[in-house]
Amino acid sequence: MAYQVNLPVFEGPFDLLYHLIEKHEVDIYDIPIAQIAEEYLAYLRQMDELDLEVASSFVVMAAQLLSIKARMLLPAPTMEGDSGGEPEPVDPRAELVERLLEYRKFKAVAEVLKAQEGIAAQVYPRVVDPASLAHLFREVNPLEGVMMGDLLAALQKALRRQRRDEMVADVPREEVSVQQRMNEVLANLQQTPAEPAPLERFFTGNHYRDELIVTFLALLELVRLRRIRLLQRETLGAIYVLLRE
C-alpha cells in the first residue's frame, strides 16, 4: 500500500460517506452501494493510523455497507401492505439514507455555528477582576449591626446545643442524601440568585460529621455539574457560593 499524505480527515463514517457521495455527485436516494462501498473500503485501508475508537466506527459502517450490498443482490422482500394495497418493496438502503439525511442536517448546522463563531470571535468583552474594583467600595465593618445581645444569644445557642447533644443520647439521625442536600442548596441560592452566599451558611445547623460530609459532597457535586461557583476574593477570606446561570 502506498504511503499517502494529506489524507482528508473525516469526523466519522457518515462524514466519509458524504464525501464519497458528493465526490461522485450521486443521488442520495439512489446510492450506487457497490461503488460507494468499494471506495469506502479503499479509504479505510489507508487509515491505519487512526485511533481505535474512531476506526472501529468506520469498520462498523463498512460492515453495514457490505450487508446492504449483499441484500441488494437478493430479490427484494416486500412489506406487508394494507389489504388490497400494492405491496411496496423495501429498499435495503432506506435506513442508511435516513440516517445520512439526519446527519447532514447537523453537519450543515455545524457549519452555521462555525460561521457564527467566527463572527462572535471578533468582539471582545471586558475581563473584569472584581478585586480591582474593591477600592470603590465603602470600608465595611464586619460587626455592623451586631449588638452585644446578638453575641450573647449566639453563645447561648451554642452552649445549649452542646448541652442537648450531651444529654440526648439516642436520637436517630436524620438521613439526608446528597441529592436532597443539593436541592436544598440550590433552593436556598435561588431565593437570591444574584447574591453570593457565604459558604458557612450551608454548614450551619449541621451537627454531625456525616451531615457535614453530605453537605460538602453536595457542594462539590454542584460545582462539578456547573450549577454553582465558589468564590474567594483573598487568601483565607470568606468563601462564597454563587449560582451559575
Binding site: V109, A110, V123, E245
Partner: protein, 188 residues
C-alpha cells in the same frame, strides 16, 4: 430621576460586568422601570454606533453587554496575543446536535454522528458550552446534556431559538452539499 446620571450608572454597570447583564438586574439596581430601561439601552446602542466608538452594546445570552467592535479585533489580538481558538469540527457537530435536540444523551448524539462522542463532550463540558441537565429515566439513567449561557455568548446569540430551523439551514445558508440536487429533498 436624572436621565444623564442614570445613563452613566447603566454604563458603569455594563462596564464593570464582563458577563451579559439581564434587563431585570439593571432595572433592580438602578430603579429604572424595565420598559424605560430597554429604551435607554436602545438609545445607548445607537449612540455608540453613531459616534463610532470602540465598543458597542449588544444583547446576548439573555442580557446586555459591552463588547469591542469587530473591526478593531486585529488591534486587540495584538494586545492580548492569544487569538480566540475556534472549536474543532467534531466539537461543532456534537454541539449542533445538543443545541437542537437538548436534552440529549451521549448515545443519541453518537447515533446521529455515527462515532463516539466522549471526547467532544469532555471538551465541550470543559469549555462550559454544555452542561449536564439531568438524567434520562431509562435503563442506566444516562446523563442528559444541554447547552449553557456560555454557549450563547460564544456564538453571540440571544437565545438558542435564534439558530436557524433545522430544515431551513440548507435553504438559507446555501451550503452546496448537494448542489446538483433540487432543494426539494428537504421536504421529507
Amino acid at each position: 430621576m436624572f436621565a444623564q446620571e442614570m445613563k452613566g450608572a447603566v454604563e458603569a454597570l455594563l462596564f464593570v460586568s464582563g458577563e451579559p447583564l439581564p434587563l431585570e438586574t439593571l432595572a433592580k439596581i438602578t430603579g429604572i422601570e424595565a420598559g424605560e430601561l430597554a429604551e435607554l439601552l436602545a438609545g445607548m446602542a445607537e449612540e455608540y454606533a453613531g459616534q463610532k466608538r470602540g465598543w458597542r452594546l449588544e444583547e446576548v445570552a439573555g442580557g446586555y453587554r459591552l463588547v469591542t467592535c469587530p473591526e478593531y479585533a486585529p488591534y486587540i489580538e495584538q494586545l492580548l496575543q492569544h487569538p480566540k481558538a475556534g472549536l474543532s469540527h467534531a466539537a461543532l457537530e456534537t454541539l449542533a446536535i445538543i443545541a437542537y435536540r437538548q436534552p440529549v444523551t451521549r448515545l443519541e448524539i453518537e447515533q446521529i454522528r455515527g462515532v463516539k462522542a466522549d471526547h467532544s463532550l469532555a471538551n465541550l463540558l470543559g469549555k462550559n458550552l454544555i452542561c449536564e441537565v439531568g438524567r434520562k429515566e431509562t435503563l442506566g439513567r444516562p446523563i442528559l446534556y444541554g447547552t449553557t449561557e456560555e454557549f450563547l455568548r460564544h456564538f453571540g446569540l440571544r437565545q438558542t431559538e435564534e439558530l436557524p430551523k433545522l430544515d431551513e439551514v440548507f435553504v438559507q445558508e446555501e451550503i452546496p452539499l448537494f448542489a446538483e440536487q433540487p432543494v426539494g429533498d428537504e421536504k421529507e
